[in-house]
Symmetry: C2
Amino acid sequence: MKPVAGTRGALIGPAGQENGYVMKDKTITIYDIAQEAGVSPSTVSRVLTGNAHVRREKRERVQNLIDKYNFVPNALAKGLSDTMTRSLGVVAADIRNPFYAAVFMACEQAAERLGYTIGLFNSLNRVENEEEQIEKFRQQKTDAIILLGGRVDDLVTNTQFAEHVRDVCRTTPVVVTGKLDRTPCYSVRIDASAAMRQLMDHLFSFGHERIAMIGGRLDVTSTYEKYQTYSAMLHERGIRENGEYVVSGGYDYQSGYDGMNRIFALRERPTAVVAINDFAATGILRSIIEHGLSVPDDISVVSFDNTYLSELTIPKLTTTDYDYDHFGRLIAETAIAAAEHREPDPEVRVGTTLVVRESSGPASV
Amino acid sequence: MKPVAGTRGALIGPAGQENGYVMKDKTITIYDIAQEAGVSPSTVSRVLTGNAHVRREKRERVQNLIDKYNFVPNALAKGLSDTMTRSLGVVAADIRNPFYAAVFMACEQAAERLGYTIGLFNSLNRVENEEEQIEKFRQQKTDAIILLGGRVDDLVTNTQFAEHVRDVCRTTPVVVTGKLDRTPCYSVRIDASAAMRQLMDHLFSFGHERIAMIGGRLDVTSTYEKYQTYSAMLHERGIRENGEYVVSGGYDYQSGYDGMNRIFALRERPTAVVAINDFAATGILRSIIEHGLSVPDDISVVSFDNTYLSELTIPKLTTTDYDYDHFGRLIAETAIAAAEHREPDPEVRVGTTLVVRESSGPASV
DNA sequence: GTGAAAGCGCTAACAA
DNA sequence: TTGTTAGCGCTTTCAC
C-alpha cells in the first residue's frame, strides 16, 4: 500500500465524503484515529482488539471516530503482526458438485460461529491446481487448510502430493475429508462402508438379491470401501456376486447412464441398482425409462449423498444422508482446534442415515 | 506472526526436515535466504517479483535456496507493502445454486489467467451477511469486490445497503451482476429480456398462445424484466394476457411445484409454461406428471439458465444458455480493469442463446 | 491505564 | 546491478 496522500499526518476531513465517484480516499489508519482522538495508536489498537482495558472516556472517543470515519482495520497488517489470521482455507475438488457445495457451506457457517473466516479455492479436480491452491493459502497464512475431495480421495496416495502436503503440515495444519497416507493430516470423513450397509439392508428387506453397483472408480477410497461392503454383504447372504453387475465409471450423470445401458445388455437384469451418487442415479433413471421400464416397479434405484438432486428426480431418490451441518462443523472444529494447538482427534468418522423416498420398492419377480 | 525462534539471524539448517510431525518450523523469510546467499534482502525480493534484473549468478544462488527451503513468500507482508494484493473477493448469494457456482468458477478461471486470486464468501441470501462479507473483503484489501446476486438483484435498491456499498466504492471497485442504483458500481449482467424473447419466440413458433410464467419475484430486476417482455410479446401478438397465468414465487423446486399446482386449479390450462429457472422447472415437471399429463405432449416447459439440471430431468429442458465462461470472464476482467484504474465499461450486458431440448413441442390442441 | 518503540515480512525509492 | 533504508498498518512488550 503506497500512501495515497502524504505520510502520516493530520486527517483531512471526511475525505471526499460527497463526491465519492472519482477520487480514491486516503486510507485511514489507527494513527489517524489516534491523532484526532488525542491518544496513542496503541490505545486505538486496544479498543479495537478489546483485550486490554482502556479508560471509558477515551474508549468512547476512539469508538466515535471509528464510526465516524467508517474505519476498517487492515487485516493484512493485523495478520502480519499477530500470530494468527483467524482464517481457514478450503480447496474443493469442484464446488459445482452439490455435495461439496453443501459441505463447504456447512464449514463456512461453523467457522464463522467460531470467529474464523473461510476462503475457497477450487481445484477443478486438476491436481496441479490442487497444489497451487494449497500454496496460495500457505502464502496467505491461513491458520489451517481444508482439503475437500480431490487427491485425498485416492485409494493409494500419490507420493509427490503427499510429500508436498507433508511439507505444508510443518507450518499449517491440514484437514482432509479423505485420507493421505504417511502424512500428519487430520481426517474427517464419512463412513462410506456404513452407508453402503444401510442401502444394502434396505434392499435386502425388499427381497432384492440381484443388485448392481454403478459408477465410481475403485481407486477412490470411499468407492473402494463401498464395493468391499457390497461384496461382503452379498457373500454373507450367500448370494453369488455377479462381476458384470459392478460397472465402475465416473461420478456424473453420463457414467450412470452409460453404466446402466451396459447392464441392460446382460442376459439377466438386476432388480435393484446402487448408484455411486445422486448424479449417477439420475443417469441411471434415464436409462431405465428409455428402456421402457419403471422405477421402482421394475427396478429399484438407491444412491449416496442426499443432495438436493434426490428430491428433484422423478421418482425421488432413496439415498443416504450425512447431516451436512454436523459434518461441516466437525471439519471446521478440527481445523480450528489444530490451528490453536488443541490437538483434535486425528481421525473422525461421521455416520449416515438412510432416507427412503420413492425410487426403491419390493423386488419384482 | 510472533517469531517462532529468535529474531532475524542465521538459518538453523533445514529445520525439522525429518521429524515434521510435531514441531512447527521457524518461518523462513527473505532475510534468511538473503543471508545464506550472501546477498541483500532486496535482491531476493527482486528475484521473487522478477521485475528488476539480477545478475544470473546471484539469481541462481537465491533460487536454489528458495527451492531448497521451500520458501513461501508471505502474501500478507507483500500486500501490506505493495499497492495491490492482486486478489478479488466475491460474495455469492448461494453457492449451492448451480447458476452461481458456474459463474463463480468461470470468474475464478478468468481471474487466475490474469494473475489474480479469487476468494469466495457466501451470504446465504441473508442481507446482514452480505454486508459483513463485503466488510471482510475490505479488511483483506482485495483489489475489487464482486457481488453475485443477492441485494443487487433487487428491483428497487435498498437504501441502506446502497449507502454501504457507496462507501466501499470509495476505496474498492465493486462489480455486480445486477444493479445498484445511485452507486458507482460496475454492472455485468445477463440480458434477461432477450432471454425471455427467445423463449417466447420459440413457443410462438410451436403455436403456443396460452403461456404461463411460473416462479420468481417481481421485485427482482431480472424477473421483472422477464415479465415485462413476456407481457409485451403477448400483446404484440394480440394475445390477451391472462393474469392468472403469472404465478410468482421463489426460485426453487417448491415454487415451481406449487405454482404449477395453482395453474392446474384454473378452468383453462395453458399449453406452455415458462419457468423462472431450471429449479422451478423441475418442480413444474413434477406437478405435471402427478396430474397425469406429459411434457411436451400435453404441456411444454421452458426455462432459464441452462444449468446442469436441464440435462438431468426427464424430459431434458429447453432453456436459455449464457456462456458462463464468457460471463465470468467479463466479470473478472471488469473487476480487474477497475482495480487497475483502467476504467472499464460501467455497464455490460451479456447475450443469451436458446438451447432446445426435449421439454418443448407443438401446442396441443 | 497509557505511550513509546520495536517488529511482523516484504517492496521500492534512492544511492552507490 | 546491488545494498541501504524507510515505510506499509497493526500488535505487543516494556516502562511509566
